[in-house]
Symmetry: C7
Subunit: 98 residues, 7 copies
Amino acid sequence: MANTNFRPLHDRVVVRRVESEEKTAGGIIIPDTAKEKPQEGEIVAVGSGARDEAGKLVPLDVKAGDRVLFGKWSGTEVKLNGEDLLIMKESDIMGVIG
Amino acid sequence: MANTNFRPLHDRVVVRRVESEEKTAGGIIIPDTAKEKPQEGEIVAVGSGARDEAGKLVPLDVKAGDRVLFGKWSGTEVKLNGEDLLIMKESDIMGVIG
Amino acid sequence: MANTNFRPLHDRVVVRRVESEEKTAGGIIIPDTAKEKPQEGEIVAVGSGARDEAGKLVPLDVKAGDRVLFGKWSGTEVKLNGEDLLIMKESDIMGVIG
Amino acid sequence: MANTNFRPLHDRVVVRRVESEEKTAGGIIIPDTAKEKPQEGEIVAVGSGARDEAGKLVPLDVKAGDRVLFGKWSGTEVKLNGEDLLIMKESDIMGVIG
Amino acid sequence: MANTNFRPLHDRVVVRRVESEEKTAGGIIIPDTAKEKPQEGEIVAVGSGARDEAGKLVPLDVKAGDRVLFGKWSGTEVKLNGEDLLIMKESDIMGVIG
Amino acid sequence: MANTNFRPLHDRVVVRRVESEEKTAGGIIIPDTAKEKPQEGEIVAVGSGARDEAGKLVPLDVKAGDRVLFGKWSGTEVKLNGEDLLIMKESDIMGVIG
Amino acid sequence: MANTNFRPLHDRVVVRRVESEEKTAGGIIIPDTAKEKPQEGEIVAVGSGARDEAGKLVPLDVKAGDRVLFGKWSGTEVKLNGEDLLIMKESDIMGVIG
C-alpha cells in the first residue's frame, strides 16, 4: 500500500489472505474437512465505521495489522498495487488472533 | 489457549464441545433421538458484546468457563492451538448449566 | 432440578410438558383435531429477559410454576436431571392458565 | 370462564366466535362468497399489551366484551372450560362493532 | 352506518367503493387497460392511528368523507348494515381527490 | 390539475411522464438498450412526507415542477382530469435534473 | 455536466465508469477472472444524504471527484449530456482510492 491508499467505506475492511498452509506463530491450523472453512488473514485497512440509528459513527473493532479469521467465501477479491486482497464487511470477521 | 489468544468479535463466543456420552456432573443427558439435538459445551472465550441501537456496548450474558447448551448445527469449526473448537453467536446458546 | 440448575439465556424458558390426557384442575382440554394443537405445560425456569432497543433488560411475563399453553411444535427437547423438558422462547407461549 | 382464568400473553387476545348465520343486533352480515371472509366474534380476554421499542407497555385497543371482526384463518383453536375459543394477536382484529 | 358503528383498529380504514363508470365530479377516470387499476372510493370510517416507535399514536392522514384512490386488490370485503364495504390499511390509499 | 386536486398520501408523488424521444433542454437522452431504462418526468404533486420513527413528518426532497428520472416500471398509472399520470413513491425517484 | 446539473436524491451518487484496462495512476488492476469483479469509477455527483431514524440528514462519505470501486452490476445506466453514467446508492461503493 506504499503507492496507493484505499479507504474502505463505512464498515468495510481490506484483508490480505494468509495461506493456512504456512503454520502461523500462534499455531492456528484450519481443519481441511469442514464445509465452510474459516480463513486466516491480516487487516490492511479499515473503514471509519457504520453509523448507529442516531447517526453517530461507531468505529470498527479491528485495526490494520490485526490477524483475523473470516469465512472462506467472504469478501470480494481486488488487486491493489499488484497485490491480491479482499474487501469485506467487519461482520464477516469472526475474531482476532492475538 | 496458553500459546494463542483468540478474541471473538462482537457477540461471538468460542465453545469447546463436551461429548454428551461423558455423563456430566450435573447429570444432563441429551436425548439421542431428537431431530436437532442440543449439545453441551464449555465457553472458552467471549466477545465484548453487541452494540444496541444507541451504539452502546451490551456485554454478553455468558463468560469463559460457563457450561452451556447449544444447537447441534450451530457455529463454525476451527482449530486453535491444535484443539477443535467452535465459534458461534451468543444467540445460539440456549442456556447455562450451573 | 434439585441436582442441576439450568439458566435459560435471554427470553428463553424451560417448560415441563403436561399431558393433555390428564384433565387439569382448570378443566382445560386441548381439542385433538386441530392442525397445530396448543399444548399445556408448566414453566420450570425463565431467562432474565430480552433487552429492548435501549439495551435495558425487559423481564419476562411468565415465572416458574406458571401453567401455560404453547404451540405443539415449539421448543427444543432436552433431558435435564433425567427429565424430558423443552427450551423455547417466551414468544412461543400463548398465555397463562390461572 | 367461571372456573378457569386464562391470561393471554403480550398482544394476544382470546375470542369467542359468533356464527355469522345468527344475524347480529348490529345487522352485520358477512358475505359468503369472499375468498377470505372476515368472521365476527367477541373478545373474552386480552393480554397486557406489547412493549414498544423503549420497553414501555402499550395496552391493547380492544377489551373483553368487544364485538370484533377478524380474518377467517386467524388464531389458534383451544378449548377452555369446555368451550371452543380462539387465541390470536390483536393485529388479526380488523375492528370493533359498536 | 346509522344502525351500527364500526371502529377500524389502528391504521385501518373502511372504504365505500365508487364505481369508476360513474364519472366523478372531479373528472377522474381510471384507465381500464392497466394491469392493477387503482379504484376510487369514499372513506367511511378511520382507525385511531398506528403507534410510532415511542408508542405515541400517530393519527391517520385521511378522514371520513375523503374521496380516495386505492389499489384494485386492496382490502377485505365486508357487509356492514347491508352495504358492501372494504376494510384496508391507510398505506393502501394512494391519495385524496379534493 | 385545474379542475381537480389530487393530494398524494405520505411519501407518494404524482409524475407526468415526458417522452424521452423529445430531447430535453438539458440534453438528457435515455439509452434505449439498457435493461430497465430510467424515464424522465415532471413532478405534478407531492405528499406531505413520511413520518420518521419519532412520528415527525419529514418533507419530501422533490417539489411540483421538478424534472426527475425514475425507474421505467415505477408507479401506478392513473388518469386525472383526462391526463395520464403516474403515482409513485419518492424512493422511486433517482434524482432531479436542474 | 456543464450544460445540465443532475442532483441525485438521498443516498444516491452518479459515477463515471473508468475502464479498468487503462491502468490508473494508483496502479490498481481489477482481476479479470473473479465472478463479480469490482469496477473503478469517478464520483460525478452525490445526493444530500440519507436521513437517520431521528430524521436528521447524514451526509454521504464520498464527494465529487473521488475515485471509487463498486460492484460490477451496481447502478442504473443513464446518459447525461451525451455521456454514459451510472446512478447507484452509496452502499454500492466499496471504498475510495486516494
